[in-house]
């Protein structure tokens, strides 16, 4: 199966909206949105990101896209906590545009490094 995608946002609604857009361009890709703290506030939640990593793992690896700096750090920590941290990669690149580009690349059966690169290169995509 194609590479999975985890969206790491500070807001659950934001993450779900991004998943909605990305899924339309890549209906075959597993996209798991995460956002907000466990108590419903704004922030990131390490446990949800870890759970999302598991859910998005199809056997082909996972790419994580994040919104702000602290989401980046939470994403990295969740990857480091994996049994095999080499199975996931945190992509730089803007959340919305990067997620769409990554989803499309995953749909095109690119490997996880190419998917992460697609997210990073998504600045200025139409």
């Amino acid at each position: 199966m194609s590479v999975g995608l985890v969206l790491v946002s500070h807001s659950r609604r934001l993450a779900e909206g991004v998943a909605e857009l990305a899924e339309q361009m890549a209906p075959g890709v597993r996209i798991v949105p995460t956002g907000g703290t466990a108590d419903g506030g704004t922030g990131t939640d390490f446990e949800s990101v870890s759970a999302a990593l598991e859910e998005a793992e199809t056997g082909s690896g996972v790419v994580l896209v994040y919104d702000l700096g602290s989401a980046h750090m939470t994403a990295e920590l969740a990857v480091e906590a994996l049994d095999d941290p080499s199975g996931a990669v945190v992509a730089d690149g803007p959340l919305v545009e990067g997620a769409v580009a990554a989803a499309v690349a995953a749909q095109g059966d690119r490997d996880k490094d190419a998917v992460a690169r697609a997210a990073a290169d998504a600045v200025g995509t139409d």
Binding site: Q24, M25, V100, A101, V104, G108, T125, D126
Partner: protein, 217 residues
């Protein structure tokens, strides 16, 4: 009607819009299928929704001139399509409306000028050039063909027939192109091998407009 048998009236333009709406509805699934390959699978719905709304507007508010009909179609498409094709076709119809002005009948030259203005609107709005795998790849050859037909004395239906034929070829030729504008550009090389949905709908509309004008009572 014969090619030089006269201009295109307000009623003719309304009839063309109505026929365009029917054609888009008929080809809805085809447009969805094309957009599923290199987009988000909604071009058929978008076009159907937009043109249905346009027909209902045009039928409810009596327009005095072809330009007024085109303008109403424009604003309705802008308000109802919901995808890139809304602002793009909307701007095209808006510019076409400006180009034809207040005349009550369009001759071949006016139709060609309207198409050219429409294309310039799409370019201004979407910044695509020929070869980017967009509706421009149907519209641009259509405008060239229309101008040349008008130049050799054809009336509206001849001009539109020439435009439609060129648009069909142009749309077909988008298959091999790599998209550089619109959602399909996200696919990069993988966008090749599929006809662009917007180019297809442009060819479809022009073909329908040509037919409607050609069989005018």
């Amino acid at each position: 009607m014969g090619d030089s048998m006269g201009g295109c009236s307000t009623r003719d333009v309304i009839a063309a819009v109505r026929a365009g709406s029917e054609a888009v509805t008929e080809h809805r699934d085809e447009l969805v299928r094309l957009d599923r390959e290199i987009g988000d699978a909604d071009h058929g719905e978008n076009m159907e929704r937009g043109f249905r709304a346009a027909v209902s507007q045009v039928e409810s508010a009596p327009s005095e001139t072809p330009g007024a009909v085109l303008k109403l179609v424009a604003t309705t498409l802008i308000s109802s399509v919901g995808g890139a094709s809304g602002p793009l076709y909307g701007t095209a119809f808006l510019r076409a409306a400006s180009a034809v002005g207040d005349v009550t009948e369009l001759d071949g030259t006016a139709v060609a000028a309207a198409l050219q203005a429409g294309m310039e609107g799409v370019t201004a709005r979407g910044k695509a050039v020929v070869g980017d795998k967009t509706m421009i790849d149907a519209l641009s050859p259509a405008v060239d063909a229309a101008k040349s037909a008008a130049g050799s004395g054809h009336g509206p239906s001849g001009v539109l027939a020439a435009a439609a034929e060129a648009a069909h070829t142009g749309a077909r030729n988008t298959e091999e192109l790599v998209a550089r504008k619109g959602r399909a550009s996200y696919l990069g090389e993988r966008s090749a091998g599929h006809v662009d949905p917007g180019a297809r709908s442009t060819a479809l509309l022009l073909g329908t407009f040509a037919e409607t004008t050609g069989v005018r009572r």
